[in-house]
Amino acid sequence: MLFGRRHSIPNKLRLSKVTGGIQIPSRKELSLRSRIMPTPLPAQLIIPLQQVGADSAIPVVAVGDTVRKYALLAGSESDAVVPVFAPASGTVIALHQQHITVAANRQASIECLVLQTDTGGDESLALSGHDYRQLSPEDLCSLLASAGIIDTETASKDTQSLATLLTEARKTNVELLVINGIESDPYMSSEAAIAREYAEAVIQGAAILQVATGATRCAIAISANQQESRAALQSALSGSSIELIAAPDQYPAHDLGLVIGGLTRSTPATVNHGVNQGVLGLAMHTALAASERISNGKPCTSRITTITGMATQTPKNFCVPLGTPVKHLLALCGARDIAATTVVSQSALNGYAMQSLDEPIAQWHAGFIASAEDELANPQEPEPCIQCGHCITVCPRPLQPNQLLALTIKRDWQQLQQSGLADCIECGACAYVCPSHLPLLQTFRAGREELQLRQHGMQRSNYWQQRFNAHQTREAQEKTQQLEAQRLRKEQANAKAEPGFSRQQARSEIADAVARVKARRLASDKAATGTGKSGHSGEEQ
């Protein structure tokens, strides 16, 4: 950092095929046939207040309050907590804990706010935008940080608040900002749809984020096979310094770690959501939300989500107010008999089947597949591993899934750490090709969670140990200080008397003085008996 450029980012940015990976026939056409649709408001919106991290935003409204669209519903002083805004005007009818599936594909009981939407018009706050070129990076950052934007890695492996990412980017002198619009899942098309229809806004958002993060270069990455979206971006980009990168048609090309590895032509060990090797990757959704925030003043209250699958009649992308229940959208797509269909969230390869269709749509939901029978592979009884090695061939990271599986089943955590389970990106390519139908991905997910918990436990007990040691050192110090203080007090008591002056001496001196007085009195008495007693007694009075 001291000497300027630390990282070697090539002048010409390009993405070539990653080793491993698989080819899957695309089914994006299903949902790309129609344009992005605005969603008719559902009767109720369910808005989770804890979106990123462990803390909930604190509601600023109470049950019974009426709110207008874009009004602040919950906030916090902390940067790590994402504020929540009203996606529509209406009445707050409940504030309660509800079980929902959160970003990391986990079920959790989370504080939610339920908003009854107005049946009449949608009354919104009057908002005004700015020209980003006239704002300083600091102003842009604070505007963006207070907009409630969450950055979600494609296929929703990880979510982060944009505020934290911006702070990190500014601290680490990021060189390259990549707007990741690659979608290698065969079904999901929200990024492609955004690029096709909102190319201008995406590019403006990218420019805003570039200024806000202070990145020297900025690039937008998109799948090579999305011709229309590429063309739209290309024409909107004319005259701009932002570069366009085409990603190979391969699963899982979307993974941020692989993108950064490809661009810097290195193998990043483990990629965190944030700045890695001088590159910050943000989702295309984030760029769109950033442009809405700065140019129109709108906080983030909606996202583009794909509803697709053979069980729907008119699959398409929706512009969804956050908090809309999934089943509301499925009904809009003419899904038949939704109670009986399996709805898969996020991805056909590494998503998960929804337990309940009442769950609200949040910023991390890329899309939902309502699958007809036999459309997606049904879980099959696993058979023994035949050591065919297919999983090793397709794994985009240098891992050996078959061995990892055996180790996870044995719960050999130490070995697992060494074999790199932490580097698995949970793409599911291994499980897709495994002829024995072994639940590789599912096992790795569980194993990675357990590994993280263990690491967390380790860190915590190390911390406690430190605290205990510090406590003991402090106690020992206090003890010596006490002893020292006692000693000092004694010394001071001694020192009060002048040096060389002891009690003994003092006593003898007093005795001497008394003796002297007595002697003098005796002498004067004698003299008085000679000259007359009155003189002495007069003297005494």
Binding site: P382, Q403, A446
Partner: protein, 201 residues
């Protein structure tokens, strides 16, 4: 009387005696050296062992094992004390220790307490009289307060050792279970497909 030796016998005697004498001395020196090295190595390996054991203990610092903290118990285990005296660690710690020490896993010794869910201390703040007794009891300085003012526990620092509960003269400290409400993906059973394991290994 000593038999007189022929010159040839003399030479043979020398040839036999000296090498064996030298070898005996060399052996003696070597053994001495080796034993001192072994002593040093064993002292070294004990500290390493203590560290390894300590790393497996939960570091709650509760003293339920009968030692003033986890490190002293780690030392005691290294010196041969049973491995089942730590209630906060519970079966998980015992199993890990058994694995490390090639010992048999055994149930927790009930004399030292029972394994419970994770807890943190919470002071009922309006009842606190500010006596500072709990502050003195806390092994990790997780309690904040001063004489005659309200005290509180910093939840993120609290190990849940419950050492502060007993000294409180007005019983205003509760141990509250830490709620972990997020459901994680289930790990597959230890051996879901016995055949599979055989094939892999």
């Amino acid at each position: 009387m000593m038999p007189t030796l022929l010159p040839s016998e003399h030479i043979a005697l020398h040839l036999l005696l000296w090498p064996s004498l030298l070898m005996a001395m060399a052996w003696l020196v070597a053994t001495l050296l080796r034993s001192s090295a072994q002593q040093r190595a064993s002292a070294n390996s004990t500290t390493i062992l203590v560290e390894q054991i300590n790393a497996l203990l939960p570091q709650t610092q509760c003293g339920k094992c009968g030692h003033p903290g986890c490190l002293p118990y780690a030392k005691a285990i290294a010196a041969g004390e049973p491995i089942n005296h730590c209630p906060p660690g519970g079966p998980q710690t015992i199993n890990a220790l058994a694995q490390l020490l090639a010992d048999l896993p055994q149930p927790l010794d009930p004399a030292h307490g029972s394994h419970e869910e994770e807890r943190v201390a919470v002071i009922r703040e309006d009842e606190c009289i500010g006596c500072t007794k709990c502050i003195k009891a806390c092994p990790v300085d997780a309690i904040l307060g001063a004489g005659k003012v309200m005290h509180t526990v910093i939840a993120s620092e609290c190990t849940g050792c419950d050492l502060c509960v007993e000294p409180c003269p007005v019983d205003c400290i509760d141990m509250v279970v830490v709620s972990n409400n997020s459901a994680t993906w289930p790990l597959p059973e230890a051996e879901p497909h016995p055949r599979l394991l055989q094939e892999i290994c």
